[in-house]
Symmetry: C2
Subunit: 527 residues, 2 copies
């Protein structure tokens, strides 16, 4: 029987608080004990990757209490409830089914009169068939010419996740001969966003995917109109160049304005939608359905690992637990996501939405204020770029910020150069290793300006190469981590009431129904 | 006589601490008092912009103490010492002269036997003449064809600032007929970064600028070699396609490997170098020297404003003071930078380096540990995109994060569309105004999940349009803000010792001179 309890009511959490900050990380990572930790504190992930947390400020005693917490908070039971179709998104009274886009983890989930797994698969299949016809030249523009570019029009989860996934695999696909179409993205209601894309693509050979679950997202509909105007001015019939990804009940679903429509539903939140047709349509068009299927396989494997009750076999749950220890017991406010892979340049922006929109909340799932801190700030840039930027503060600033590294043994593009006895890829890997140790152990110097305290915790996800499977596994790992943290904090991680007030006020500004500061600010902005 | 004192030794700071959190922002911004604040708490900036801080949790009493603090900390005197050529970067025993790239604020600064203003201007002129010759076709590739693309190879300040500036003006230039060449950037030592750029440009028509002050930056030299190989493979002579931006004493300065070399020196820190030839070469090639000159004019105007002793006439100093109040008295750990302009998509990444690398320090300028917090975390994405992402946490998370908005009345590209009675640009502006009010005032709701506490402070920089002048003014505003905060915290904002340890350890890894955890982690990464 599942019971939803606040974190601070759990005995194991009290034990964790009593332990406090007990590990001297600099000492633990020094010498042979450090090497032992690297070997021991390493958990297999999906797609052959590993989650190594040697440089986290934990030890066996802390881990034992975290394991107790996992049990007491019923994390895997709650996960099972989710994938078996209970109403986990209580605020909006919705099921949470994004995992069904990539596998069947438990019982068949029937809702709206259909088997939901079958429904999602049918939509993926429809998108795959469409993509294959575009690639083969069966579906072309009015002049019978092949489409070369696909443009996704969406915002938030309809943009950040799919964009990050596309960028992550663009060069892999180019190298492996599966880059079928280049993808571009329009998201911001700033008209310069759409204008910049439209001025630099070949409009007659472009397909546009309008992505809005409700079919009412103002930014997206505005950008759709913007694009339609541009297509007409270019002498192109929009209905022959536009697709929709939406829910079956949305105004877009049955419109004749689109070449085709692919469906998701209310049980897939925007920030969890990359493995639905929201990501599937654009990624299948860009890379081919086979590549998207491999991405789903990686995610499915990660989802299966998340069922493990043993924290040392469940990297997402372990990552979540360590994060809560750092946030609530050690008092750290942020996490920096630092992929040592240029292909993951926008992965931190995706995680920023995933994490901060899911768990940036002050009330529990019953709407009661909680008396502990919840989701941290998430930010990040690819290493080595970050090293020449904000790492100064990470190393020597007055606050400690936990770090999430990602690194791969091989690069994607198959080009490299040997300078001063090492390849660029080796330099890249040497840097991430060096950073882990510099943060953990620091270095004493009699000049305080050159002194490094150390004691700055990090973990690293290590893989062979950023393949479609590895990317899917990464995506699902973090989705599951965020879900587990939401369970621990007793939050509803699947609504986002905090975005509503701004929308209401913006409408009021546009209707000129304002007074006071809202009116005065509107005047300054010339509205 | 200037005296460098720690913040917590100043009487005005003790007064500020006694004031504590005294303004109820939700109440202050409500009704007519809110409108009055919008009118009153607004300071002119350079290039016709304004810094509006109505939605900051300050009042006249707080401002009076902040003015005292500005005086007691001798902020404008220290600024004068800086631009008059004192050794402000004490750790590295260097002058700090980036402002001389755009104007003469005080006395002539003589160093290394030359007038530094004249030196920087001469280099800008050299770059301008070179750019004009490229644009006119006087300088071409071996086949006598015009160059169409310029690729900057640099990292950190040689990348983030120039890249952000290029993206900020790319569409403005396209619209105004001054986009002379497209610019691309290679920064990461990840070989996939360079590969991705090289595979998508027209190499025979590309110029490459290698940017490294010391001429020894490993990432940049590695990428230079990578590019040289690719040029040779493409049958192109690298010496006819490559430029250098470096110091006169660097190995690159007199090399015959370059078509031309433009110089800066040790008195311009990387993160402050966008207005030197580090930004000037690529921006002059991309947009023409006239556009770069307009950018410098905007920066120069902002620099002059920073000389004002009255905080209500000195937006950079005021911004700095309010930031310190928020960081040290109110206890906020981060600032989100939220430009409502897609063109500023990478401006937050530039500010992240500028701020976090300058002031992310735990020792004062004499190398003594400070007992107060210093530089905050800086992160951000363009609105409206952020609204559909991490704003949930900003509105309803358990921590308060101050916000820095930027908005313009007009867009850049001259394309817009009217949907539901408003243009996209109006929607964009309505959103930023709405967000300011939603954060400040919140909204009571009996459903706690839909309740907004408010009291979340923000400021906004408002301009007519993101022109070259406005961009220069924005850049200099934040440079000066960060400088003033460094003065207040008594830091050396111009060194970066925190980046050194990682470099040393990375070299050791590549030389296989490791043991313990460093060896074990290296094995996992296959080095």
């Amino acid at each position: 029987m599942i019971s939803w309890k606040n974190l601070d009511t759990l005995d194991s959490y009290k034990k964790l608080e009593e332990l406090g900050a007990k590990v001297d990380l600099a000492k633990a990572m020094d010498g042979e004990s450090g090497a032992e930790r690297v070997a021991k504190y390493c958990v297999p992930m999906a797609a052959g990757m590993a989650y190594n947390f040697a440089a986290k400020a934990v030890d066996d005693e802390v881990l034992a209490v975290l394991a107790d917490l996992a049990g007491e908070a019923q994390l895997t039971d709650k996960y099972a409830a989710l994938y078996n179709g209970e109403v986990i998104n209580t605020g909006e009274k919705r099921l949470v089914l994004h995992q069904l886009c990539r596998g069947q983890l438990g019982e068949d989930v029937m809702a709206d009169g259909v088997n939901k797994r079958e429904f999602y698969v049918s939509q993926q299949k429809k998108a795959a068939e469409f993509a294959n016809k575009v690639h083969s030249g069966e579906i072309t523009n009015a002049a019978g010419e092949k489409f070369t570019t696909v443009v996704q029009i969406g915002i938030g989860g309809s943009d950040l996740g799919p964009r990050a996934m596309y960028l992550a695999l663009e060069n892999w696909a180019r190298q492996n001969g599966t880059l079928r179409m280049e993808a571009r993205f329009i998201s911001n209601v700033d008209p310069d966003d759409a204008a910049a894309v439209l001025k630099t693509i070949d409009i007659p050979h472009s397909l546009f995917i309008v992505v809005s679950k409700s079919g009412t997202t103002l930014e997206t509909l505005t950008n759709e109109s913007f694009v339609r105007n541009a297509l007409k001015e270019a002498g192109v019939d929009p209905a022959k160049h536009m697709l929709a990804v939406t829910s079956e009940t949305s105004p877009l679903a049955s419109s004749t304005d689109y070449l085709a429509a692919f469906f998701m539903d209310d049980y897939i939140g925007g920030r969890y939608s990359s493995s639905s047709c929201v990501g599937g349509a654009v990624l299948s068009l860009a890379f081919g359905p086979e590549v998207f299927a491999r991405f789903l396989d990686g995610a499915a494997e990660a989802d299966r690992l998340a069922k493990e009750t043993d924290i040392m076999k469940n990297p997402a749950m372990l990552d979540a637990l360590i994060g809560v220890y750092e946030r609530n017991v050690l008092g750290y406010e942020a996490t920096a996501v630092l992929p040592y892979s240029q292909a993951l340049s926008r992965f931190p922006a995706h995680l920023q939405q995933l994490d901060m929109e899911s768990n940036g909340k002050s009330v529990n799932r019953f709407g009661e204020p909680v008396s502990y801190v919840t989701g941290p700030i998430i930010f990040g840039e690819p290493g080595t770029n970050g090293q020449h930027s904000f790492y100064q503060l990470l190393h020597q600033g007055t606050n400690i910020i936990p770090l999430q590294f990602v690194g791969f043994r091989s690069n994607q593009a198959g080009m490299d150069v040997d300078i001063q006895g090492s390849t660029s890829q080796q330099k890249l890997c040497a840097n991430v290793v060096a950073q882990i140790m510099a943060f953990a152990c620091g270095k004493k110097d009699e000049n305080p300006n050159k002194n490094f305290e150390g004691g700055r915790p990090s973990s690293i996800i290590i893989g062979e190469q950023l393949t479609p499977e590895a990317l899917g596994a990464l995506l699902a790992h973090f989705e599951n981590k965020v879900m587990f943290q939401g369970f621990i904090w007793n939050l509803n991680s699947f609504d986002q009431e905090g975005v509503q007030l701004g929308k209401v006020l913006a409408k009021r500004v546009l209707a000129h129904e304002t007074d006071g500061a809202l009116r005065a600010l509107s005047d300054l902005l010339g509205i």
